[in-house]
Amino acid sequence: MARRSRAFAALVALVLSTWAAAAAACPVCFSARNADNRAAFVETTIFMSALPLVLVGAFLWWAARRIRHHEGRASESPPQRGP
């Protein structure tokens, strides 16, 4: 029953996706009109391509720094022994 519901939902989503005029809905899908516009296309493409890498890279750098910090603290403290 659940599988049939999922298949029906997927079918509805597929039909809806063919209904929408996806290309016409994009506000920036047109040719560049002048030098400023061309530069804006290039700059925003670079910006949007680099930003996810920068964000994920920054997150990983922060996580690695925190791990090093924690490991440094753990190695400084003496091992806990039971009674």
């Binding site: 047109f30 009109r33 002048n34 516009n37 930003l51 964000l55 924690h70």
Partner: protein
Amino acid sequence: MGTESRLAISRGTGEVVAFPVSPRRRPIASSGVIGMTLFVIAETMFFAGLVSAFTIVKTTALTPWPPPNQPRLPIESTAVNTLALLVSGVVLLVSSRHFARDAARAVRWLALSAGLGAFFVVFQGAEWVALLAEGLTMKSSTHGAFFYLIVGAHGLHALAALGGLCWALLRARRGTLAPDAFATVRVFWYFVVALWPLLYWRVYL
């Protein structure tokens, strides 16, 4: 750090055997902070998309930007508001420094930060009312549509983050604010503060 070991009974032979286990790792940050950081990353991409679309549309305009028949954005007064928001972020940083040592002082700084945040949100609201009265609406031009979309999206984030700050303030006054919860709220507020100057630069200037 020495290797720890645990004892277990072997299924096959029934003997007691010792096997090494790695020491349990402590989390690098609370779940709230990591979750909020991931949310902030997603929201950064959302705003990057809006600003990119705005930049393209702005350079495509056939008339000067902003359009001649549309009201000018209040650059100078919003600069003052921007300053208030930046100071709010710095004050929150000071509050977090005091939080572990002197809770009463941290509450005072936190209240100041929330007050400055509230000032920013109220000022933005007053600015919108004035611009609407002058004729800048979502439908009056592409300029108006992008202005309300980008600044409005930031305003909603500011409002939500301000709610978080007020919640933290109430908890801190009662002495029940957990450090992890405070850190989570701070991440959101720092995002709102850090994002605004970029939006001001792209939309207002």
